[in-house]
């Protein structure tokens, strides 16, 4: 009996190791590339033989990259904030209030989340050029908000449905003002959901490539994923592998750490919005 459980445990450890390999091999590879120096870059080895920080030094002294990093952070933060504010309002209404057109709104936002973004790129390109929004922060923030809203509304309304709203009534009976009831009872219950949704929305903005590539033309608003594809080496023909890998690591690590820290909540967020019953 004892040996049987040990065997099963060993078997599961074997399976777990396969999952870890699946998840980490491409990630460790890009980190390892970013640490290789010029001499060993092309040796084809998986791990660097003499790690060096020269690629990182190169990108952090590259003004285009620093600008792109600032663009990425600023644009995604603003888009996330706006999407969460409007998304919270809409999700609260959908989860709690009775009003006409509710089903239509959910259907429309579902439709938009499935929208092929490329179908919007052409008209938005034309519209933004005409309005002077092309190659500016708002020019990217606006489409990001649009695609983030369905995700926010979905996930948030799923979270809001789980909140025991009767507590609000109970607090009022105990003499709390409506504001106190909301501030001290409902807000703490709703915050985890809002926070998780904010992470998911931020990830989706951070990940965008198509809009960043099509709706910008200079480093004015270009985000890191788009800027990376424009990196050039010492000569135009040389592909700057090291700096691209270093930039890749810089924009990946903070996100991975965030996801690992809030793993449990993110799993809840990703699944609650999509499948219920």
């Amino acid at each position: 009996m004892q040996t049987e459980t040990t065997q099963r445990k060993l078997m599961w450890w074997g399976v777990n190791i396969l999952v870890l390999l699946y998840a980490f091999v491409p990630v460790v590879w890009i980190i390892s590339l970013s640490l290789k120096d010029d001499a060993t870059l092309n040796d084809g080895n998986y791990l660097p033989s003499s790690p060096s920080g020269e690629s990182y030094a190169a990108i952090f002294s590259n003004p285009d990259f620093l600008r792109a990093l600032a663009n990425s952070i600023g644009i995604c933060a603003i888009a996330t904030f706006v999407a969460i504010v409007f998304g919270t309002m809409a999700a609260y209404a959908i989860a709690r209030l009775d009003f006409p057109g509710k089903v239509t709104i959910v259907a429309v936002s579902l439709l938009i989340s499935m929208f092929p973004q490329i179908a919007l790129v052409t008209p938005l390109f034309k519209i933004e050029t005409a309005l002077g929004l092309f190659d500016t922060w708002p020019g990217l923030i606006i489409p990001y908000i649009t695609f983030a809203l369905p995700l926010a509304i979905y996930t948030l309304s799923a979270f809001f449905r789980e909140i025991p709203w009767d507590l609000e009534k109970a607090a009022k009976m105990d003499g709390a003002t409506p504001y106190q009831a909301f501030r001290q009872v409902i807000t703490p219950l709703a915050m985890p959901g809002v926070f998780t949704t904010a992470i998911l929305v931020f990830i989706s903005c951070w990940n965008d490539f198509l809009f960043a590539l099509s709706l910008t033309s200079t480093s004015n608003a270009r985000t890191v994923p788009a800027a990376m594809s424009y990196f050039t080496g010492a000569t135009t023909f040389e592909k700057p592998t090291g700096p691209i890998a270093a930039a890749a690591v810089v924009i990946t690590v903070p996100l991975v750490i965030m996801v690992l820290l809030f793993q449990r909540r993110i799993v809840a967020g990703l699944t609650s919005g999509a499948v219920k019953g």
Partner: protein, 317 residues
């Protein structure tokens, strides 16, 4: 909210018509106020979604009927369906369409298989469950472009650890397609697995145990009990991923830039717009992609009776 008892009925018990009137009035007022608040709260979100998604798609349709070439703005004229004839009779479009369909179908299938395996591992493992669930989120949280560069460098001759010496897989059609599929599948298995895992959690453990006692082996239990019970989760996950895979762009752009006819429909539309500055043709492709997406979604819902998650949550309030 599902059932508000009619105050009129409740009030008649006290046999006081005046009170009933007031209660009814209050109830109607409250209803009105609730409606107003609801509409007010959704207004900003709906306005943005309509202005930035619905209006442009109509505008794209309008542009697709014009000879809108940014290099020759004077030659702009209404050409009705000419652009559609041009696109639908071009071999570039149909090659891209075939490539996109192939990538979509193969990656959705592989993601379902591996996603199911990963979901079962995350659900059943008796050791290190937190570790497995956490690591599975890593591919999800990585920027697609970053992952694409990782795969591209891995398959570049001399540079990559996966490339046999002298080979250059990303310069040939079929190897390129399979690497694109690999990149797509690697990135989205976790998403698929999480959706399926949520379904697995709903399968009653007793049922599986009972079947086990009746002599059904694990394989049989999976097909006879688990699969039918999590069918809704499978269909929703498949629908999401099929539509998502159909818009494949990032991976192809980084891995091959569409060389050797590996462009997807999104890539071809992008090239016509940004490189060719041809808004008419670009918009025509945008409309065709939009319509195809609609058809895929429609077929899914018709053929499998997949309930859109929205309709479900909307009905439940």
């Amino acid at each position: 909210m599902t059932q508000t008892p009619t105050p009129a009925a409740a009030a008649t018990d006290t046999a006081d018509d005046g009170t009933a009137q007031i209660a009814l009035q209050r109830h109607t007022d409250a209803k009105k106020a609730e409606r107003k608040l609801g509409l007010l709260l959704v207004a900003p979100a709906v306005t943005i979604m309509l202005a930035v998604a619905a209006y442009p798609i109509l505008y794209a349709f309008w542009l697709s009927l014009q000879k809108a070439d940014l290099r020759r703005p004077d030659a702009n004229e209404f050409v009705f369906l000419d652009n559609y004839v041009t696109v639908l009779s071009s071999s570039i479009w149909w090659t891209a369409f075939g490539v996109t369909m192939f990538i979509t179908i193969v990656s959705a299938f592989l993601e379902l298989v591996f996603g199911m395996i990963l979901a079962i591992v995350m659900h059943r493992t008796i050791v290190g469950r937190g570790l497995v669930r956490t690591s599975a989120l890593v591919p999800y949280s990585i920027v697609t472009v970053v992952a694409a560069f990782s795969w591209r460098f891995a398959w570049t001759s001399d540079l990559g650890y996966l490339t046999p010496s002298g080979a250059a897989p990303l310069t040939e059609f079929w190897p390129s397609i399979w690497i694109i599929i690999l990149a797509e599948v690697w990135k989205t298995i976790p998403f698929m697995a999480l959706l399926l895992m949520a379904g697995l959690a709903l399968v009653p453990e007793d049922l599986l145990k009972a079947a086990s006692m009746d002599g059904a082996n694990a394989w049989k239990r999976f097909w006879a009990i688990t699969v039918p019970l999590i069918k809704p989760a499978i269909l929703v996950a498949l629908l999401f991923r099929t539509l998502d895979a159909f818009r494949v762009f990032d991976n192809i752009f980084i891995l091959t830039s569409g060389a050797n006819e590996t462009s997807s429909v999104s890539m071809v539309a992008y090239s016509n717009l940004i490189r060719g500055l041809n808004l008419g043709i670009g918009s025509t492709m945008a409309v065709l992609i939009f319509i195809t997406t609609g058809i895929i979604a429609f077929l899914f819902i018709k053929a499998f009776g997949a309930a859109a998650p929205g309709s479900d949550s909307g009905g439940r309030k």
